[in-house]
């Protein structure tokens, strides 16, 4: 089968899913999975095959002829979209079931298919107008998915913020595509690197796609939308939807010429976002917000790689740029896999306990062993630790940066700083996920809700197992995935033809394999030795304190207590304290809350000023006809005076 029929099959499957989904909960996952599997097949054909797929038709849509194209770069994203889209459909069928949500579940199934379909459309369309149409449909369907549970106030607020931010981005994209069309004379998209006049348009694209990608100061919509959306929606938002922003940046920095400063700016944004995003994540108490901020960090890591590639391309096509870009593109995939896994795990916890606050959880490994184990695996992957996939892509980015430094090119200084920041962000990611895993799954249950939790069913566990297997596979055998990534790199920059996998990557995979075997064997050996020596269970020793209670455990806030003050200038933690008073104090309380600083300390005050100015101006409009006539007369008189004073004699 070739690419075209497979894509048609995918579109048909998803359209059928959207049409039949609301009524037929049983056949909807099958339809969606069939559609995404077909899309995955098409993407795979392009990635391993020789040629890219292109299809033109005279049939006009919105006044423009259809022009579809699937090349190495878009196929890489399409493969990710179909993997997460299919897994999320299976997961969502149980997680957001008709039994629990009779009103919103049918709606959710239709919007899910539409979301996947519209993102796929964005990836294959090669016409600016069609791209925008798909982009808008994708934005709107994501909005309806975020607000599935719209009876809750904070969900509506998150949805509204998402819609407003997305449209601010879309305005930039309208401007971008319209000026592109105006300057080239056509809405057709494709490689046009030689037209140097188009370079300034890159800034519009960066702004528009940056909002969707959650690039650091533009990420304001991301935490609340990810936290309040149903978890399978959070998974696709974080795993795929924000990657569409990355796709836009990578796509159009490859097709269009870029201004000389582009690489510096993208690298700077990436490094800032990586460090500050993960600092925000570490300070969170809501585990879904923690995961959301971690996505900001990972987008930062990806942008470090993309910025490195832009710099290398600008300075004589240095070979280190290929490594950095390959690392970034592989990280797109890796982050999609492990972050979806983590959001699925978070959804299972939320499903079982009904709370997102880590300070109300604990000890869940006993009742949810599958979720706990898979979440732990995802945590190792997201912290970028060997032998899993997160390390492979970060290693490639690092290698690119180190090569830039040893090459002593013009970008060496920036690469040094980026490498050091990447190291700090990695250490903070490790800290964040030790905290998340420990607060949710380890220790003793802190509340009744956590004690009464239950493991989720197989339809929620199976997609998690699949994604976890992907994380392991990508970590242990990275060379198998290299050709796909190398193709995408070759598409981005025509001079960077696909290369065979670098030997160190092969060695790294082998070392990972040995390491994984060694880890499992040693753990089993130590466990057996422990059993053989005699195992007794006892109370946690805790320096011989006789009556520990779950509330004496270290909390999420105290775990972050060392680092939060270092970043207090940006985190701005708000603390409210009720001290114990009197001879018989009743309750003492200490609450710490880390606001979304950019939103609440920058954008909200700015919005407040705009509103106040508008309110003041509005006094002019009061409905009294006499005054309106007075305005008119005054205006006429002023105009007359101007004409009389300046008029020609």
């Amino acid at each position: 089968m070739t690419v075209g029929p497979l894509l048609l099959l995918a579109a048909a499957g998803l359209a059928a899913g959207a049409a039949a989904g609301p009524r037929h909960a049983r056949c909807w996952p099958a339809l969606t999975v069939a559609g995404t599997a077909a899309a995955f097949g098409a993407a795979l054909l392009v990635l391993v095959g020789a040629a890219e797929w292109e299809w033109r038709s005279g049939f006009p849509v919105g006044g423009e002829p259809l022009h579809l194209r699937l090349d190495g770069l878009s196929a890489l994203f399409l493969a990710l979209l179909s993997a997460v889209g299919g897994a999320g459909a299976v997961y969502g069928g149980e997680y957001w079931s008709d039994r629990h949500y009779p009103k919103s579940a049918p709606r959710g199934r239709a919007w899910w298919c539409l979301l996947v379909l519209s993102m796929g459309w964005v990836l294959v369309s090669s016409n600016g107008l069609h791209f925008l149409l798909g982009w808008e449909l994708f934005t709107v369907s994501a909005y309806f998915l975020i607000t599935l549970d719209r009876a809750r106030r904070e969900v509506r607020a998150a949805g509204w913020l998402y819609l407003a931010a997305s449209h601010a981005g879309t305005v930039c994209l309208f401007a971008f595509f319209a000026s592109l069309a105006a300057r080239t004379g056509s809405w057709e998209l494709g490689p046009m690197r030689e037209q140097a006049g188009l370079a300034p348009l890159f800034w519009l694209a960066l702004l528009g796609f940056g909002v969707k990608a959650g690039v650091f100061p533009l990420h304001v919509w991301l935490p609340s939308a990810h936290a309040n959306a149903p978890s399978h929606v959070s998974a696709i938002l974080s795993g795929v939807a924000i990657k569409m922003g990355i796709y836009g940046i990578v796509r159009f920095s490859g097709w269009l010429p870029v201004p000389p400063a582009a690489g510096w700016v993208v690298l700077g944004l990436g490094a800032t976002g990586a460090l500050l995003g993960i600092a925000f994540a570490f300070a969170q108490n809501d585990f879904k917000r923690l995961l959301a901020y971690c996505s900001v960090e990972n987008v930062g890591v990806i942008l470090i790689g993309v910025g490195g590639a832009l710099l290398a391309a600008a300075h004589g096509d240095a070979p280190w740029g290929r490594l950095a870009l390959a690392g970034a593109l592989l990280h797109v995939w890796n982050h999609g896999a492990f972050k979806s896994l983590l959001f699925f795990g978070a959804g299972s916890v939320l499903h079982a306990t009904g709370t997102r606050q880590m300070s109300r959880l604990g000890g869940l490994w006993r009742v949810m062993p599958w979720t706990a184990g898979l979440f732990a695996l995802g945590a190792v992957a997201v912290a970028g630790l060997p032998p899993l996939n997160g390390f492979v892509s970060e290693w490639l980015v690092y290698l690119g940066l180190f090569d830039a430094v040893t090459g002593r090119g013009p970008a060496a200084g920036a690469a040094m700083l980026a490498a050091i920041i990447l190291g700090m962000a990695g250490a903070l990611a490790l800290a964040s996920f030790v905290k998340a895993g420990a607060m949710i799954f380890l220790g003793a249950p802190r509340t009744q809700a956590a004690a009464r939790a239950h493991e989720s069913g197989w339809r929620m566990r199976a997609p998690m197992l699949g994604l976890a297997a992907m994380c392991v596979l990508l970590g242990l055998a990275p060379v198998f995935f290299w050709p796909a990534v190398a193709r995408a790199v070759g598409v981005w920059h025509p001079a960077w033809v696909p290369e065979p996998a670098p030997t160190p990557l092969f060695t790294l995979g082998a070392v990972h394999l040995v390491l994984a075997v060694g880890l499992i064997a040693t753990a089993a050996w130590l466990w057996r030795k422990t059993q053989a020596n005699g195992l007794r269970r006892g109370l946690t020793w805790d320096c011989a304190y006789a009556a520990p209670t779950p509330h004496m455990q270290y909390s999420s806030g105290s775990f972050a207590g060392v680092v939060v003050p270092w970043f207090a200038w940006i985190l701005q933690p708000a603390v409210s304290l009720r001290r114990p008073r009197g001879a018989f104090p009743e309750r003492a309380l200490r609450l710490e809350y880390v606001p979304e600083t950019v939103l609440e300390r920058v954008l909200a005050p700015a919005g407040g000023i705009v509103l106040r100015v508008s309110t003041a101006v509005r006094r002019l409009q009061h409905g009294r006809l006499q005054s309106y006539i007075l305005y008119l007369l005054t205006g006429l008189a002023v105009l007359g005076a101007i004409v009389a004073l300046e008029g020609t004699p």
Binding site: L422, G426, L508, V511, A523, W527, L535, R537, W541, Y554
Partner: protein, 301 residues
């Protein structure tokens, strides 16, 4: 054949030599204080004894409580095996230096994860401090490795550790030594001998471990100490210019010097207050950054 022999001898170096270092440090401390102190081989006796002992597990602990020390031990050993040892093990591959740093991070992840298993506040405290200070230590280490890369134009440990660290060697040595003290929880960052759990890092994390898992943790900690000592020695000394025997001798002498130095620091310094720890670590970061700058400027000339 030679490859296998080389591997086995390096494995033996790390496994057998590592427990000697804490013994030497304790002997130096005892000597300075005018005591006789425990035998140099004390840790070997302790490990042998712990390996035969039974285990008390907290009722809250999951299997991860035992798997954690195993993972940490393998990770530290894996990181150590990436480092060339004088004349031995000059293979390596491009980018193995990053694998080494991240294997140490994997060890940190599993140690802190295991510490959080018991729900004890003390262990939570230790784990929180461990992961937090590691943020600065990691920055210092990446800067140090960058300076070695700049010096040699290579991203492979075998080549990076061959020549001396050049003009910035003193800066690099000071920075790496500070990181060694922090990462291995020695005075002035942590006091391995204190009896107050509130003020500990590493020892607080392993309060609930016993028997073979504790042996794995203690041995892993010793290997990590030796790893940093070897790294520091080879970064500073010009290993490439020496004959194989001289290399081995220089390496042994360097490790001994670092160990004795650690013992002397512990004898003459008190543990810092926790709020001063980030300051000292920032100094280490700055030292490594200056080493990087010196390497950068030195190579350009």
């Amino acid at each position: 054949m030679t490859v296998i022999l080389d591997f086995i001898s390096r494995l033996a170096w790390w496994l057998l030599l590592a427990p000697l270092l804490p013994g030497v440090i304790n002997k130096v401390k005892a000597w300075v204080a005018g005591r006789r102190g425990p035998p140099v081989l004390q840790l070997y006796y302790d490990l042998a004894r712990l390996w035969r002992k039974g285990v008390v597990l907290s009722t809250l602990a999951s299997p991860g409580f035992v798997a954690g020390p195993a993972v940490a031990w393998v990770a530290v050993l894996g990181a150590a095996l990436l480092i060339p040892l004088g004349p031995m093990g000059n293979g390596g591959f491009r980018g193995d230096v990053l694998l080494m740093l991240y294997l140490l991070a994997l060890a940190r992840f599993s140690t802190t994860w295991a510490a959080m298993e018991t729900g004890s506040a003390f262990e939570g405290m230790g784990a929180a401090r461990e992961v937090s200070y590691a943020v600065l230590a990691e920055a210092a280490l990446v800067a140090a490795m960058l300076s070695l890369s700049v010096q040699t134009g290579s991203v492979s440990l075998a080549a990076m550790l061959e020549p001396t660290a050049g003009a910035g060697a003193a800066l690099l040595a000071a920075g790496l030594f500070t990181v060694l003290l922090a990462e291995n929880c020695r005075v002035p960052f942590d006091d391995p001998n204190t009896h107050l759990e509130l003020t500990m890092i590493h020892e607080a994390m392993i309060l609930d471990h016993s028997g073979p898992p504790l042996a794995a943790i203690l041995h892993g900690a010793a290997v990590k100490l030796l790893l940093f000592a070897v790294l520091l020695t080879e970064a500073v000394l010009p290993m490439g210019d020496l004959s194989p025997f001289a290399k081995m001798g220089a390496l042994l002498a360097g490790v001994l010097a670092v160990t004795v130095g650690t013992g002397l620091v512990e004898s003459f310094l008190a543990r810092f207050a926790f709020r001063r720890v980030p300051l000292l670590l920032t100094t280490a970061v700055l030292l490594c950054l200056f080493a990087l700058l010196v390497a950068w400027k030195g190579g350009a000339a």
